[in-house]
């Protein structure tokens, strides 16, 4: 049986105008992502990975082309509809965690669960990422890896259909990075969440179902992994 398509992009283009400079961040991307798959977007800095992820997540608008989430056209949505889309369907993990410094780990998670339709308790989400013991700590009292796991807990607590992660291990050392990837892989396996991870770290591609290579705003090629490695089996 053909797996259910979650994202379908056609001719997706994004042009940034910064002062006098025009930057073509995406240049006609065609792409399909399927339910429950773990995808790694790989490419050098400035290749357009983050732009693609931002448009998939409803954080930004495309200049032209279409992008559908299931039967929902993201490219025609207004601000309000995108906000609801993010609230109900998408979980984000950012490279620099983007935690609210004045809230504890648990509270950072509640920030999301309070506005979600069917969330899990924040404590459960934190236990899923192995942080059950440290939920009353403030971001400043947590290590980088721990902060990133809080960010993952925050993203998954609302049981999103897609989890979009922009360089989740970018600021972490190898060992800590592996823990974070384990958390992502287990969420993907246990909750069936479609997971997209951006990285320019080639080692990570081994844990994905599919690896999409991006260069100069286009999809260079796509590789399906015959055999996936567990996060614990990789290092960098």
């Amino acid at each position: 049986m053909q797996p259910e398509i979650v994202f379908q992009a056609r001719g997706l283009t994004k042009v940034y105008q910064t002062g006098d400079v025009e930057v073509r961040a995406l240049d006609g991307v065609d792409l399909q992502l399927y339910k429950g798959e773990f995808v790694v977007l790989l490419g050098p800095s400035g290749s357009g990975k983050s732009t693609l992820l931002n448009i998939l997540g409803g954080l930004d608008w495309a200049t032209s082309g279409t992008c559908r989430f299931k039967d929902h056209d993201l490219t025609v949505d207004d601000e309000r509809a995108l906000t609801l889309y993010r609230r109900d369907h998408v979980g984000f993990v950012f490279q620099f965690y983007n935690l609210i410094p004045s809230l504890t780990a648990r509270e950072n998670v509640s920030l999301c669960t309070e506005i979600a339709r069917d969330p899990m308790p924040p404590e459960e989400a934190l236990r899923l990422v192995g942080l059950g013991e440290r939920m009353n700590h403030f971001p400043a009292q947590l290590s980088g890896g721990e902060q990133q796991r809080v960010a993952i807990a925050r993203a998954i607590a609302k049981r999103p259909e897609v989890l979009l992660c922009d360089e989740p291990t970018g600021a972490l050392d190898s060992k800590t990075g592996v823990w974070v990837l384990e958390a992502l892989a287990s969420v993907n396996a246990e909750l069936g969440t479609t997971t997209v991870v951006i990285t320019h770290n080639a080692a990570i591609r081994e844990i994905a179902h599919r690896v999409i290579y991006i260069a100069d705003g286009r999809i260079a090629h796509i590789v399906e992994n015959e055999r996936r490695l567990a996060p614990s089996e990789i290092s960098w």
Partner: protein, 787 residues
């Protein structure tokens, strides 16, 4: 409590110092409006109520002697509802142990019915028994100044006869809120008192049985005052009437009115400026403070919070600060306003006080303070909300720096890289520098505006007492005399120089405009009493024509060369036309001068003088006083030294109470603004500065980048602040002048310097805090954070 609300509380706790500074700025602006307007309205209402309750008369007139039967004719004047016929006459007061001559005004109290008008409020004791010529009620300020009370005794000279008096009561009167001795410019409570005595007793003492020499009228509301004055003048003319006048020419009323007018000028102009400035500063500060939240706003949006929810969150933060600030302002303003009103009530000798608290000023202040805060904060929130979350979560684009003008010509070699960094940041992010600059300048301007009034008053004193009226004393004759009397004054002990003058009560008229004043005639070549023109050059009265001061010229719309009608209110009466030969500078009253001979010719009764200005040797002062006291021809003596100190006390105190409060509030605003500007500047550039630390720059080098920028902005703000302060002050001074005083506009350099000093102190304190913060910059986090 929702997690967002918890974030709000934590943010507030984290930002407490800045939030407190903003709160205080709001509170100061708010409080200024409440206390300024509140105190003024309270005093205004108290005055109105006092005049109403104690039946303060509307029209006053003095005459030589008229039979009481004239009263029925006076009551027939249309619009008159009550008339009090009284005896009022100057007496010389002799108090044991007091060397300077003192005088008083004896006023009759009806014996068998209470007075209809100008009723006394007894502070102590009782009114005199009918016919008891030794019992006297004295005015409260005289009682205090002389430490007199019921049971005290002193003597006074009535009609040349010394008479022992016993104080039986102490009272306040709406007619004598301010009491001026003859020729005095300012009240001197020690040397002039009001003596209320039994009518029959005074009739006996002054040989005025069955007669009166003063009348006070109460008019129906809406009745024509000028018509009543004209009719009364016609009735009393043949009894030696000296021109009836309304409240505005009644000295106590005019005095109080001029003082209240100064307060009004200060409360109509200064508080709105304070409030506007504080609103502007809060607006600016909050908008910059919230700009720092841009990434968090982006995050909240990214995880699915709606615009409305994010805006509401920050709105709450702003409202907490703005509402608390307003609350503190309202409480402090009410409390200070009450204190200030009580202080003024005491100063004006009001028997009671009405505290006035209109909801309108509270509503206005709240609307302005909260509105400005909300607009300032939400402006930035919405700007951040308009950005796609992906963009908002990244730091703003770095400003596009470029080389500075001057760097090409070798400036770069002279200045260090760090200084260049400060300069470029200022020039390339001008909005930040400009908002700080305007904020600091506003604070400086408030300080200038709060402090300048004293400068103007001091300048007025300098011109009045040291450049024009330079005599040590003025001797006022009981009756006008021929010039021969000059010699007897010259022969008094200690007198070194004496100069005669004549003053004549007149009504000056130009078209429908008229004013009651006196024309002073003096011979040319006077050294003590001098007349100066608008450039402060001494001028002699011309052999023909009238010199008028700028205020009189303004109220009568007179220019040099105009013809003015002079209605003589003394002697042979009649109206003459006189040409205005020049406009002169004199800040006291409605001054009009003529050459003595010209004035004598105008009146046509031969040469007469009403008094002498004298200079004397201070060492022989007691002998002079003794001689003056023992000469009945000299009705009283006005001592310039005492007038000067009273002048300072009265006007300065009147202004001081309020300006002191304003100064304190503007200091708070100055500190609030500078502190917040420095702190926000630090937050805006924290990352950059921490990077410098990581690169190996020392703490003091890194703080220098920020502090150099701050110092340049603060220094540049000073001239702008002075200019704004000058403009605001000019607005205030416009409302200061009355017919009694014209306040010249002058701001001393020292006032600008003091304002700047306060701003610099605030800056130094803020710089210190910023320095401490730079020391605590988190170097590790900056390495982990994106750039």
């Amino acid at each position: 409590m929702s997690t967002l609300d918890r974030k709000l509380l934590r943010d507030l706790r984290h930002l407490w110092a800045q939030a407190l500074a903003i709160l205080l700025v709001i509170a100061a602006g708010f409080a200024t409006l409440i206390l300024g307007v509140g105190a003024y309205r309270s005093l205004e209402q108290t005055r109105a109520a006092y005049y109403e309750r104690n039946a303060f008369a509307d029209v006053f007139a003095r005459l030589e002697r008229a039979p009481k039967s004239l009263g029925s004719r006076i009551l027939e004047i249309p619009g008159v509802v009550a008339a009090d016929l009284r005896i009022m006459r100057q007496v010389i007061i002799d108090i044991e142990g007091m060397s300077e001559p003192a005088s008083g005004l004896a006023v009759s109290l009806p014996d068998f019915s209470p007075a209809h008008l100008n009723q006394l409020t007894l502070r102590a004791g009782r009114t005199p028994e009918p016919g008891q010529s030794s019992e006297v009620v004295i005015n409260d300020s005289f009682a205090r100044a002389q430490h007199l009370g019921p049971g005290s005794r002193f003597s006074a000279i009535f009609n040349g006869r010394k008479h022992e008096l016993e104080v039986v009561g102490v009272a306040l009167s709406p007619e004598f809120i301010y009491v001026l001795g003859p020729g005095d410019l300012m009240p001197d409570d020690r040397r002039f008192g009001v003596l209320w005595m039994s009518e029959t007793a005074l009739e006996g003492l002054f040989d005025l049985e069955g007669a009166f020499n003063s009348v006070a009228l109460k008019l129906l509301a809406g009745a024509s005052e000028s018509a009543a004055i004209a009719q009364l003048d016609r009735i009393i003319a043949r009894y030696g009437g000296v021109g009836a006048y309304g409240r505005k020419d009644q000295i106590s009323y005019a005095f109080l009115d001029s003082e209240l007018q100064q307060l009004s000028a200060m409360s109509r102009i200064i508080p709105p400026i304070f409030l506007a400035v504080s609103a502007f500063l809060v607006n600016m500060t909050l908008s910059r403070l919230i700009a720092l939240e841009r990434e968090q706003i982006g995050l909240l949006k990214a995880i699915g919070y709606s615009r409305l929810a994010v805006a509401a969150h920050y709105l709450k933060l702003i409202l907490v600060i703005a509402i608390l600030g307003s609350l503190v302002g309202a409480i402090a303003g009410t409390w200070l306003g009450r204190g200030l009103t009580a202080l003024y009530g005491e100063f004006y000798h009001f028997p009671f006080l009405i505290f006035h608290r209109d909801p309108d000023i509270y509503l206005l202040a709240t609307a302005v303070s909260v509105g400005a805060a909300v607009l300032g904060g939400l402006k930035t929130v919405f700007a951040a909300l308009r950005l796609p979350p992906a963009v908002a979560m990244q730091p703003p684009q770095p400003p596009r720096y470029a080389k500075l003008w001057g760097e090409g010509i070798g400036l770069a070699q002279v200045l260090s890289q760090l200084t260049i960094m400060s300069l470029r940041s200022m020039v390339r992010a001008p909005l930040r520098a400009v908002t700080t600059l305007i904020g600091v300048a506003s604070a400086v301007s408030l300080l200038v505006m709060a402090m300048f009034a004293i400068d103007s008053v001091e300048f007025m004193i300098d011109v009045s007492f040291f450049r024009t009226s330079r005599q040590h004393a003025s001797v006022i004759l009981a009756e006008e005399q021929g010039p021969g009397v000059l010699q007897s004054v010259q022969n008094l002990p200690a007198v070194m120089r004496s100069e005669p003058y004549r003053s004549v009560a007149v009504r000056l008229r130009n078209g429908h405009r008229e004013r009651r004043t006196t024309i002073v005639g003096q011979p040319p070549g006077q050294d003590l009493s001098r007349i100066v023109d608008s450039e402060f050059k001494v001028v002699a009265p011309p052999s023909e024509g009238l010199l008028v001061n700028a205020r009189l010229a303004e109220v009568l719309k007179l220019r040099r060369g105009d013809i003015v009608d002079v209605e003589l209110l003394e002697g042979k009466r009649g109206t003459k036309s006189v040409v205005v030969s020049d406009i002169i500078e004199s800040y006291l009253g409605l001054a009009a001068y003529m050459d003595l001979d010209a004035l004598n010719r105008l009146i046509g009764e031969g040469p007469r003088i009403s008094g002498m200005h004298i200079a004397y040797d201070r060492r022989d002062e007691p002998a002079l006083y003794r001689a003056l006291k023992s000469t009945p021809a000299f009705a009283s003596v006005q001592l310039q030294r005492i007038s000067l100190s009273k002048f300072r006390d009265t006007i300065r105190e009147n202004i001081n109470f309020m300006t002191t409060t304003y100064v304190v509030l503007s200091v708070i605003i100055a500190f609030g603004v500078v502190y917040n500007s420095a702190r926000i500047q630090l937050s805006e550039r924290a990352r950059e500065l921490a990077s410098l630390r990581v690169l190996g720059f020392t703490r003091s080098e890194v703080s220098r980048v920020l502090l150099t920028e701050l110092a340049i902005v603060i220094l540049l703000a000073q001239p702008l602040g002075w200019a704004m302060g000058y403009a605001f002050s000019w607005g205030v001074i416009q409302g200061f002048s009355s017919d009694l005083f014209t306040v010249p506009f002058l701001i001393e350099t020292s006032t600008y310097a003091r304002a700047t000093l306060v701003a610099l102190l605030a800056s130094a304190a803020s710089a210190f805090v910023v320095r401490l913060r730079v020391d605590r910059l988190d170097l590790v986090s900056v390495l982990k954070t994106r750039d």
